[in-house]
Amino acid sequence: MKIRKRLKKAGWITFFVTPGILIVFVFILLPLFMSLFNSLFSWNQLIRHDFVGIDNFKRLFTAYPYQQRFSNALGNNARWFAVTMLVQNLMGLLFGYVLSRKIAGSQIYRRIFFIPVLFSIAAVGFLWGLYLRPNGLVNALLQLIGLGKYASAWLGNAGTATYAIILVNIWRWVGFPSLVFLTAINNVPSECTEAAYLDGANEWQMFKRIVFPLIVPSVTIITVLTVIGSLNVFEQVYTMAGLDGAPNYATDTIGTLFYRTAFGSVDSGAPEIGIGSAVAVVIYLMTFSISLLSIMITKSKEVEM
């Protein structure tokens, strides 16, 4: 009787869990192992050849043109992370804090700040791509306010292109950290802020000593999401600079480089599954280790309530 009951329970668990686990396994976990496997072989287009060990990784890190392209792209991903953390997440922190203090109009502001978060990266990228053209809206505005001499081919100039694309992405996404921080700040117990307020703390002291230490868990989440997002950049560059990371690879990222290696190509014009899989493995490892690192760093700063 007891065994029958347990078997029945096991049957039900299997019934409920299997469809989900099957799909996650086939389309998320299996590809992870296949990437690892593929990266250890030499490939001729889509045909697998010999086992070559870590040869693909060696070529990626040492041989021309892979090494140059790879470190260039990685540098740009680092730029994405640094600028996004500094500009977008600090703005988000400021917006979240000010909105939480119920400044007049805060209900409308928070709704408006979130609007671009809903749009596809592709649409936002193409829209701003138009505005950033030499004869586009941005330069027209500079001329209108008498700063015409600063007008520039924002996306055609190697010095500005990556930053222009990053800023467009921040335009789209800053509402997200703002509202995550807003929710977190609203969850700070009001006794804490009331007490500080009665002690005569000013806004900066209030933020630094009371609010920020209590919202570190949200800072962790936003940091990890920024790590993942920065390593995943693709659509933004594809829509505003093209697959080659024009001009002259100035906007190239791991995502676009990976796409070119996987589907043709960096070196010979044909898909290179071996090197491409090596790039994928590096992306997996970096996402995992950097996320873990930022969790550890911010976890150590968390305060128990």
Binding site: K9, F15, F16, V17, P19, G20, I21, I23, V24, I28, L30, P31, L32, M34, S35, N38, L94, K102, I103, A104, R110, R111, I112, F113, F114, I115, P116, V117, L118, F119, S120, I121, A122, A123, F126, L127, L130, Y131, N135, L137, W171, F176, L179, V180, E194, Y197, N202, E203, I221, L231, F234, E235, F258, A262, F263, V279, A280, I283, Y284, T287
Partner: protein
């Protein structure tokens, strides 16, 4: 009392409030104006867009919209996006909630491991897996077939669904289902008629959390669907922009067509969108 009301504020605080209002209003303009400009530009000629970028259109002629919607295939792209999003969301909710139910409502060995297995799907960058996914999709013979992206979308949605729903299901008191069990209800009935109805608010969050990124997804439809008649709105927009790069009024019409429907939906349900999109990041 402890808020930033101008009337009761000290002098220093008043300066801070005015400064912050300026920042907020500037940012509102920075968000609204580009969208406004996009819409008015779709009613202007290319020449007027370049020569008088800040002027209003002389009239509202919707022939560009008709041409983009009918002749340029946006109606097809739109319906494709709708079809792929709805089809994948049905299975995301179904399989995701079933798995969440299995994990959170039964105690068994390997329970935590199973949960972690689902969670790993949130952290892994799926784009990096495109080569093996390409091989798998080819192996199933569903290249250039809607099923390819629908499967990938379902896989994208399940981990976060399990995470959000099992978190909620754990808070439902066990007494509810014990009572039903004593009355002889089957496990399937407990899931579908007792637990799921209670979960509906969380299911709504899950739907928004996943449907918006799926609707907007660019990468996988770009890789797996080559036929023009199968393309989604973002990918269709991309090829449209490539073909008409000098006709600015057409470009702005296409962009408006891709962006404005979402904007209108947001105007009516902004509260749910904000709550849904941030569901994975706030407790």
């Amino acid at each position: 009392m402890n808020t930033m009301r101008f009337r009761f504020a000290s002098f220093g605080k008043r300066i801070f409030i005015v400064l912050m209002q300026l920042v907020m209003i500037s940012y509102v303009i920075l968000i609204i104006y580009p969208l406004f400009s996009m819409i008015i530009s779709s009613f202007k000629s290319t020449r007027d867009i370049m020569r008088f970028p800040f002027s209003l259109p002389s009239g509202f002629d919707f022939s560009n919209y008709v041409s983009v919607w009918v002749d340029k295939g946006f109606s097809v792209y739109f319906l494709n996006s709708l079809y792929y999003t709805v089809a994948s969301m049905v299975f995301v909710v179904m399989f995701g909630s079933m798995a969440a139910f299995g994990i959170s409502r039964y105690a068994f060995k390997g329970n935590t491991m199973l949960y972690m297995l689902f969670l790993s799907g949130i952290m892994l960058p799926l784009k990096a897996a495109v080569i093996p996914l390409f091989q798998i999709v080819k192996g199933f013979g569903i290249m250039d077939n809607p099923l390819s992206v629908i499967f990938v979308f379902i896989a994208m949605g399940i981990p976060s669904t399990v995470f959000i729903l099992s978190g909620f299901m754990k808070t439902i008191p066990a007494a509810l289902e014990q009572a039903a069990r004593i009355d002889g209800a089957s496990e399937l009935r407990i899931y579908s008629q007792i637990v799921m109805p209670i979960c509906m608010p969380s299911v709504a969050l899950v739907v928004i959390y996943n449907a918006v990124p799926i609707w907007n997804e660019f990468f996988f439809p770009l890789v797996f669907l080559q036929s023009d008649r199968l393309k989604t709105l973002p990918v269709g927009l991309s090829s449209f922009i490539g073909q008409h790069s000098t006709k600015w009024e057409l470009l702005f019409t296409g962009l408006s067509m891709a962006i404005v429907p979402m904007l209108i939906m947001y105007l009516f349900m902004s509260k749910y969108f904000i709550k849904g999109m941030t569901a994975g990041a706030v407790k």
